[in-house]
Amino acid sequence: MRLTFKKGGIHPAENKTASTRIEMQPLPMTVCVPLSQHIGAPAEPTARRGDKVERGQLIGRAAGTVSANVHAPISGTVASVDNAVLADGRPGRVVIIKADEESHAADTAAREEYWKKVADSSFGDTSNDPHTPEELRDMILGAGISGMGGATFPTHVKLKTGAVKPDIMIINGCECEPYLMCDDALMRNYALRVVQGSQLLARAAGAEKTIIAIEDNKPEAIDAMRKAAAAFDGMEVVAVKTKYPQGGEKQLIAAVTGRYVASGALPISTGVVVDNVATAFAVWQAVATSTPLIERVITVTGDIPAPERKNYLTATGTPLSELPFTLPENAKAILGGPMMGRCAVNLDAPVTKGTSGLLLKSTGAKRTVYPCIRCGACVDVCPMGLEPYLLATYGRLHRWDDARQADVADCLECGSCSYACPSNRPILDFIRIAKKRSR
């Protein structure tokens, strides 16, 4: 029996064709760093126009409980702190930093030095890390780490335990979105660091048990992680069935532990905390090397020539247009995977902490929309056991109360329903409206 969640789910074409090597994307001369790269309140800028900043220096302080710090991805001069249109078309504040030749060369040298150290397994052993859970959480807060799987929830907030003490830490290496391979690449190339980070996360959460869950379409990553985790107590690497949305927090908890997060409750209520493998890696960087989250691995893939499909270690704030790829005809530039990723409005938009991939899709002919034929496909695939066709109808007819009664709030916006509809109905669009309006 392969571990998975019970209800629904789909099997979209995987298209995981990118190389699993991680290439260094050169540091840009100019970065545009949004102060809101996470869910919650935007960070308060701590740098002003004209300030000289060092790579890794704090430029935005977490504002309020649910917020995250933001650091300078390159050294240079702050050109402006301004309002701008962010990648997905929403407005937000950004800090623009410009480097000069000298600082750029120095940053590049320091970066190379740093990644050489990271690759050296004798360096940075954190298995006997002396910090208390509180101290670890402060370090994570300090490093500005937020969930790197796509939801971008500030990690230190997740680790703060209230009434329920977690007993299991799940590290999410499912990468159930088609196309994306950044987590796969990270686990293959930096398995030890991910495992070390997982252990730190578990300690910070106070969980005795750590389970690293990986979809079984990534045997090399599973192997590498098993080898790296063998020496760690209370740590287990499990293969889970390849099925979308296996990496959904509630679905993964159900698959791995058999516990079900009740409607309206937080995952922590089941005694489980879930964090992404890239987040674990960032935690290790923060604790072992005091490095904040200023670069991440992103997959550049899609309808571009095969040799261009690669994973890049990219500084946050790097404009998408600096990544090397040939833009296809009628392109969509999707930040993230094809199921939940958001379209970028233009290619000047920056890479952020939550950007797991840049998916360039050439859009074909417009698909004809037919009436709902009540085929039940959307009901079959909904991992939350909802009735998407009904919720969409409520959304279309502005029947917010009915939508609430039909548990629209449980929808995780995974997109399985819209994916599966043979009539091409924009089910999820109407559900999003119903979800917003029925709150």
Binding site: P12, A262, S263, G341, D348, P371, V379, E387, S423
Partner: protein, 315 residues
């Protein structure tokens, strides 16, 4: 540098290859064996009924959307074509062509378009057409040509049994499977229908739930009533109805559990009508009755949620 124009849309950005016309097409393919058998057995009269039924359905759909709804043509979705074929297969070969056309007008015009078109109808259009004809022209609708015998007509197996002229055990299995017996065009060969069922399961256009539960429901009543089960399943349009009519997406329930309930009830109703009702065959009526209950089933047989609602915490 000119910034390239990007296309913007909401997620998801990937989509299944399945389409609504594709599903209709698969059902048509699955019907090919049954169509072939009926053309082979009934020759020209069958071809006439098939062509008139299909063409009338297409014409009515086109004319009503064009002149009354003033909307773009919906012929491309394939549903009118499929209704035409299904209606023909539910009629006896040799039915006067004008009656066939009248059935098509009722099927598409009244049962489908008057309810709002594809996806909005409550009752299966082809079956409404058939039942309308059955009630209006009972004699023509129950005059079944005997396969391969020009001009000879005969009763169906179920009618013979009902009239007491024949015991169901008398007819061997072979004619039932191959179709060498009286009946409407599509129902005569169980083997051809089962082939179509296998195809539909393979391409995953329908699931097993409705057909199997219909057969199960019928079998249960038969066993209780002490009636031979196998001939009952293989005759009287049961398989045609179970595989192709009751599984119509629009008029059947959305959830697997709902489908099972719907199917079992259709099977039981059919057996009851066949044994104790006024009509020798009960499939069309049972399906239409349960079509009427489908909205109710959808309302009460809900998919089970991922997890129950959190209990309201009382402070």
């Amino acid at each position: 540098m000119e910034t390239p124009r990007l296309i913007f849309s909401t997620s998801p950005h990937d989509h299944t290859k399945r389409t609504t016309p594709g599903a209709m097409f698969h059902v048509l393919v699955a019907l090919l064996p049954a169509i072939a058998v009926s053309l082979w057995y009934f020759r020209l009269p069958a071809l006439g009924v098939l062509l008139v039924s299909v063409l009338s359905c297409l014409a009515v759909e086109w004319a009503v959307t064009r002149f009354m709804f003033k909307r773009p043509s919906t012929l491309a979705d394939g549903s009118a074509l499929l209704t035409g074929v299904l209606l023909a297969l539910n009629l006896p070969a040799g039915l006067p062509l004008w009656m066939t056309a009248a059935g098509a007008v009722i099927a598409i015009g009244v049962a489908k378009l008057a309810f709002g078109g594809l996806g909005c109808n409550v009752f299966n259009p082809a079956l409404v057409g058939r039942v309308f004809l059955l009630i209006s022209f009972p004699v023509a609708m129950t005059t079944f040509p005997v396969p391969l015998a020009d001009g000879v007509t005969g009763p169906t197996l179920l009618t013979s049994v009902k009239l007491g002229t024949m015991s169901p055990d008398e007819l061997g299995m072979m004619p039932l499977l191959s179709g060498d017996m009286g009946g409407s065009m599509g129902e005569v060969s169980a083997a051809a229908l089962l082939l179509g069922f296998a195809y539909l399961l393979c391409v995953r256009v329908i699931s097993w739930h409705i057909p199997v539960s219909i057969v199960a429901g019928l079998a249960v009543v038969d066993l209780i009533a002490g009636y031979p089960v196998i001939p009952d399943i293989l005759s009287g349009g049961l398989l045609l109805g179970a595989i192709f009519m009751a599984t119509d997406y629009v008029t059947s329930p959305m959830t697997r559990r709902g489908m099972l309930l719907y199917g079992v009830l259709i099977g039981m109703l059919t057996a009851v009508i066949r044994r104790w009702g006024a009509y020798p065959e009960g499939m069309s009526f049972s399906i239409l009755i349960m079509n009427g209950f489908t909205p109710l089933i959808n309302r009460y047989v809900r998919p089970s949620r991922f997890a129950p609602r959190r209990k309201e915490e009382t402070a």
